[in-house]
Symmetry: C2
Subunit: 146 residues, 2 copies
């Protein structure tokens, strides 16, 4: 089915180059406009810590879909900005627990508002059913490949 294949090839360009980076860029811009000096990558780490604090770096890898070196360096930068602290696990000395500082806790409400606002800007003209389809397709694609 060459016709179908061509359409799938087109979809690749769409997925890779367009909407996802446009959303990320807009969110970054909204952070900056609000005077927040964090990157969206740093925010994506904080986002998971707000849901559950003091995760290991490995657990952050799993939840943010990043590899270990990426998380190491994101945590390095977050530590420099005094938003998280590495705390050695008491039971397994290989593990660093990454814990939020008070500094980071105070950012939670504001940044989540900005993220919701960004998604509202992004999703004008998109209905709930379509969102559900996109979520299902992405989960399926992820499961197919990982």
């Amino acid at each position: 089915m060459p016709n179908n294949q061509f359409k799938r090839g087109e979809l690749y360009s769409v997925i890779n180059g367009m909407a996802s980076t446009a959303v990320a860029r807009r969110l970054q811009k909204n952070f900056r406009a609000a005077g927040l000096e964090i990157t969206i990558e740093q925010w994506s780490v904080l986002y998971h810590l707000w849901k559950e604090d003091c995760l290991s770096q490995q657990e952050l890898c799993n939840r943010t879909f990043r590899d270990k070196p990426s998380i190491t360096r994101l945590i390095d930068n977050l530590e420099k900005q005094q938003l998280v602290k590495r705390i050695a696990s008491a039971t397994d000395r290989r593990i660093n627990l990454v814990c939020l500082t008070d500094n980071a806790k105070s950012l939670q409400a504001q940044t989540i508002d900005l993220a919701n606002q960004t998604m509202n800007e992004a999703l004008v003209g998109v209905n709930k059913d379509e969102i559900e389809v996109v979520k299902r397709v992405f989960q399926q694609v992820y499961d197919n490949l990982v």
Copy 2:
């Protein structure tokens, strides 16, 4: 509508961190497995040149959704690998036309096969209608933000 907003916030994580990078990673892996020493970013530039050769850098920015510095450096690297050449425009001396070398032309069929194969792996269990919804949503999101 706080409930709706929360769902949109979740979608952001999905869009930004998951399926798109998983597809990109798989395509990169498939290139490498086939002995091709190009990155997916370089491929995305070549992809548009195969459709229409000798585009200006600005036109490549538009078509690949990248900014000018990104294209400058991608072209730098593609030129090092002798896959493209910068040719000064005869009519406007500000413009570089980016043209494929024979070297690059010979890659076209193979890499497009690999891209189609990658999308087939990625889209197992996803039907045509869902693909159309995803494409429409992404176009809408992009139009909303850019």
